[in-house]
Amino acid sequence: MAQQAPSVFPASPSWDGAGTSKIPFSVYTSDELHRRELDRFFYRKHWSYVGLEAEIPNRGDFKRTVVGERSVLLVRDKQGAIHVVENVCAHRGMQFCRERHGNRSEFTCPYHQWSYTLSGDLQGVPFRRGVRQDGKVNGGMPADFDLKQNGLTQLKVACRGGVVFASFDHDVESLEDYIGPAILHYFDRLFDGRKLKILGYNRQRIPGNWKLMQENIKDPYHPGLLHTWFVTFGLWRADNKSELKMDRHHRHAAMISTRGQSGKADQVTQVSSFKESMQLQDDRFLDIVPEAWWGGPSAVMTTLFPSVILQQQVNSVSTRHIQPDGHGAFNFEWTHFGFEDDDAAMTRRRLRQANLFGPAGFVSADDGEVIEFSQRGFDSKPGHRALAELGGREVGDTDHMVTETLIRGMYRYWREVMEDGQ
């Protein structure tokens, strides 16, 4: 068959028609596409996760974080209102705030002492009126210099259930419309208004494209295969009931599963379909206590495109913030939390079950590993493509997990946005 070998290094991604079941490697390897993604997904028309209200409980509290690759400050002002401002001084562009958290009455850039209110308004600049010497005034800012025109960039803010989102785009739709009713249901299930209790952070740097972490939590194909720990100790069972749901744009998703009800709870932690005789030496890792707010499902993993994953896996709950850094790496920040009505035993249970997750987690450490080596494959031959054809080539909600429909859905949306106007 006389067929010319395709270029290993194509100029642009080549999709197979209108479908998204074959994903060009180059969507993970191109700096140009990465910058367009930042523009179109992180800086325009989208909301990004920035943190939890419980991280800044007091007036003057702030937390430094990012939207996309831009440094921002999440802050509670003197009246108690929440603001998000860009950590770039209006004068010389310095990322002036170096602490990651703290309490301030104002923000001051150390370079030339420009000072800002907690909501980002410029309060004053040194030598604005110049310096009087020998009867004349030297220097100073021009007479028409307007403090009001030179504040920090202020982002639009939306809070829901104790979670804070921000957007550089003040014309962005409401957070509720953005998430959409199908996924909002699962958002509100987790963040139902109870006060949150921060348990702590894990931070890891994963050398892979940021989208791969979204895809990881849109891929129910791998958990029972990669994470043999799940199977070995009975958390991933053939009789689990499952559903996959998306918003109308297919950008967000929820993977909902309910542990099989056959057998007693103690059997669920001990019966294994993989290594029949395996038991934990210390089964407190899986000391699962159902909570009323679950309303049935024992695990709901929600992906909010593009910036965050909301985790409920039995008693362990966390947010996982995706912070891109170039096309080939992202920082991944886990914030584990509990609820104000947790007793000491429940807090300890959540901390113990956190051993399953995070950069050392029994069922998470290996996710970072496979992402790193997928990226290696992509970088070596960007003209090739990945497959997402389990369960067909279509996009739609399902009542089972044997499908890659959520990944196809995300790329349908990706193409709509990224190919618009080309």
Partner: protein, 182 residues
């Protein structure tokens, strides 16, 4: 200077009016010697990936935690690894061998001299700095994790063992994942 084997060695030990904290606290030099050997053995055991020997260095009712310095200093209880018994250590050893897919790597510990903080009959609290280097196959060696151990060791029938080992790490970003105990 001669090595004394009895406790309560005081200012005479240094002759400079300054005593090391270990001696001032009444630590028997023999115990200090055994403590340094315990820490050196731990490094050798984890660098050799001998996970059974790693478990055996702890008492049954032990604590092992790998904690970001940020959480430790802010009083946040979350740990990256949070084990509360030797059984949990054995479960980790099983996961390393049987269930956790990972890129194989060597680790190499460099551990500083222990700074003794408390001396009790049959129990010592101490801290020591550590640096762990990671070497992956076909890759350059990198600095993997840096921090300090905060240990409580106790005298058991067959020598000193860890009752508690907290690995409090400065490293802000874990380079992808941590599979083996530090």
């Amino acid at each position: 200077m001669t090595m004394k084997t009895s406790g309560n060695a005081t200012a005479a030990a240094t002759g400079r009016g300054e005593t090391s904290p270990a001696l001032r606290l009444g630590l028997d030099p023999q115990d200090y010697l055994e403590l340094t050997q315990l820490l050196a053995t731990y490094a050798a055991v984890v660098d050799a990936a001998n996970w059974d020997a790693w478990c055996a260095m702890f008492i049954d009712d032990c604590i092992y935690k790998l904690i970001p310095r940020e959480n430790f200093e802010r009083g946040l209880p979350l740990a990256t690894m949070d084990f509360e018994s030797k059984g949990m250590l054995k479960d980790r050893a099983f996961a390393i061998r049987e269930t956790l897919f990972h890129d194989p790597y060597y680790q190499r510990h460099v551990v500083g001299a222990p700074r003794v903080l408390e001396v009790h009959p049959d129990r010592i609290v101490c801290e020591s700095n550590y640096a762990v280097f990671r070497t992956k196959l076909s890759e350059l060696t990198t600095v993997f994790n840096v921090g300090r151990y905060l240990d409580t060791v106790v005298r058991a029938d067959d020598g000193w063992k860890f009752a508690s080992r907290l690995c409090i790490y400065d490293s802000e970003m874990i380079p992808n994942s941590i599979i083996y105990p530090v």
